[in-house]
């Protein structure tokens, strides 16, 4: 990360509610419920959490694949949260997305060339010879060959498909790529290949990543800073090393202790905090800390008063009323 940090993407008070049910019996699912964070140019910001915590919805709302219910998404100083489709168009080029499932995210009836060129064609960037040359160049960048250009997705393995998805994202020279669980569908030996490639591309093109994942050790490896989400709320934001070495939120602490370690002699097992119960329902939520029902340190205040992110140490934001006292324990 550079010394002088320039904010590239600022998310302020972002909310995404999904509403269902009847008029009388309205069900509000608060998938993302007022989160704030900033991603600086050239860094990788990791977003972790368990299923249903809202991390994917966050990524999709930033990309405007979903329209936000409330809040601002500021890219390069301009709020795109309320823009119309037409106004949004030039900004779509700045943000691209890589998806989790390399089987579902590529149209099986299009050739690799047409898949990768979709963005180029939509934004009318290149045509004819130059377009084809650009495809070849992109294929080579992601470790595939020129001959692959005229093939169809079914001819490729999962890892290769993910490379095609990455080439498609790179095609319009984006500034930020939102990677939504880009490696979780891949085999362990292939995951490392893709992660290394993402790191190389970042160095080469000065890319910024929002890396959404649930594999905590891979997230630590790739991220500069990490945000931890739980039921639509941001629980903790800090640098990658700090998060793993000095987690402050009780949820982060138990989440980290649950990671299985590939070392049979490790001592973590004895220190493991096994959380009771399941993640609660995000439908029609009451005020208070979302984690309180499972938290061993919860006090009465946690059940009524929703904690906000506070900067307890430089670069270390925690949303917990009792973080200071817990740390002393």
């Amino acid at each position: 990360m550079s010394e002088e940090r320039i904010p590239l993407l600022e998310v302020k008070g972002l909310k995404k509610y999904f509403i269902s049910g009847s008029l009388k019996n309205r069900r509000v699912l608060a998938a993302v419920d007022g989160i704030n964070f900033t991603i600086y140019k050239g860094e990788t910001f990791g977003l972790v959490g368990e299923s249903g915590c809202g991390k994917t919805t966050t990524g999709r709302t930033i990309c405007r694949l979903y329209n936000p219910t409330e809040g601002e998404v500021i890219i390069d100083g301009i709020d795109i949260a309320k823009m119309s489709e037409k106004e949004l168009r030039p900004y779509r080029k700045k943000m691209q997305m890589i998806f989790q499932d390399p089987y579902a995210s590529l149209n099986s009836r299009m050739t690799v060339t047409d898949i990768i060129a979709e963005g180029i064609d939509t934004h009318k960037l290149l045509v004819g010879e130059a377009r084809q040359e650009r495809i070849y160049e992109l294929l080579e960048k992601v470790g595939l060959k020129r001959e692959h250009a005229s093939r169809y997705p079914h001819e490729f393995s999962g890892g290769q498909r993910q490379r095609i998805g990455i080439a498609r994202a790179l095609a319009v020279n984006p500034e930020i790529i939102i990677c939504d669980e880009p490696i979780s569908a891949l085999d362990v030996s292939i995951q490392a290949q893709v992660v290394n490639m993402l790191e190389d591309l970042q160095d080469e093109f000065g890319l910024t990543y929002l890396f959404i994942a649930h594999d905590l050790s891979m997230v630590r490896h790739i991220s500069d800073r990490i945000g931890v989400m739980y039921l639509g709320k941001m629980m903790e934001i800090t640098t990658a090393d700090n998060l793993y070495e000095h987690p402050m939120h009780p949820y982060t602490i138990s989440l980290l202790s649950a990671i299985p370690v590939p070392d049979p002699k490790n001592s973590i097992r004895s220190k493991r905090i096994i959380l009771k119960g399941d993640v609660g329902s995000p439908i029609n939520m009451k005020p208070g800390c979302r984690f309180a029902p499972r938290c061993q340190y919860a006090t009465e205040r946690c059940l009524t008063d929703t904690p906000e992110l506070r900067e307890l140490e430089p670069e270390h934001f925690v949303a917990c009323h009792n973080a200071e006292t817990i740390r002393g324990i």
């Binding site: 290769q160 085999d187 362990v188 490896h221 070495e245 097992r269 959380l275």
Partner: protein, 339 residues
Amino acid sequence: MKTLLEINNLHTSFFTHLGEVQAVRGIDFVLEEGDILGIVGESGSGKSVTSLSIMGLVDDPGRITEGSIVFEGVDLTKLTNEQLAEYRGNDISMIFQDPMTSINPVYSIGNQLMEVILRHTKMTKEEAKERAIELLKMVGIPEPEVRLKNYPHQFSGGMRQRAMIAMAISCNPKLLIADEPTTALDVTIQAQILELMRSLKDKINTTIILITHDLGVIAEVCNKVIVMYGGMIMERSNIESLYDNPQHPYTRGLLQSVPKNVTGKKNRLIPIEGSPPDLLSPPPGCPFSPRCPHAMEICLKEAAPLFKISDTQFASCWLHHVDAPEVEGYVKVAGDENE
């Protein structure tokens, strides 16, 4: 230790319109009572087909083409489907990755649990209900009397997996096969389920085969481990030696491609280049040879036997042969497992 299960030269193939897919290509292992054996491998390594073969659940167009599966002295491959059904659910039972596809959504949890108990024991309905409540309690489901009446959709993912485990252990099986039991679950729930599996071993003294792609999960619960690749066993070992002193290049590659996070330092990951073999036409030699950094001429022609590294560790790699070139970290040994 008493031998519970012995697998000899097992081959299982699927006969598709494209040709024969050789999913399992000659594997051997012995399971002793009380073992928790981990089978680790990537997709297509043959780990799930191995477990389905033991259960006799390999469906058309697949079948066991060679070898034997000896459970308490009886070769399961020789039995008819009716005879096998006596073992399934009774002596050997299985937990699958996705609990929702293995539980019937239109029957209550209690109904399905009691069905298993009534099918395999001589209990009355009342007794079976008592037993079902006891089982749900054992796997950590709160208010089992109420939960018994619930339908699967009223359970969360973790609770469904607990209910599956309750069903699987309802007849005190001697062998429990768990195929990726925690892959679909979140880490905090995974920790709960792994804890439960460890405690089961003590409570009902079951022998367990745990199939996973996650070396971390294996290290948490198993005492023995088999590493599979391309339908073959690459390394078979007790748990400590595998992680301390892996003796197969594939095992090493797997352990290296997982990030080792050291504070303040960014290490580059060491991936295994290339991609897994095509089992329609597997390479004639060692399946890993096209991706192996140490591959020699013989590796491409002939698969190595399982060289005996120690009493508890075997590796199928020619680097252990006395005539092989020296490679740091790999020991030379005189004989394979048969000697």
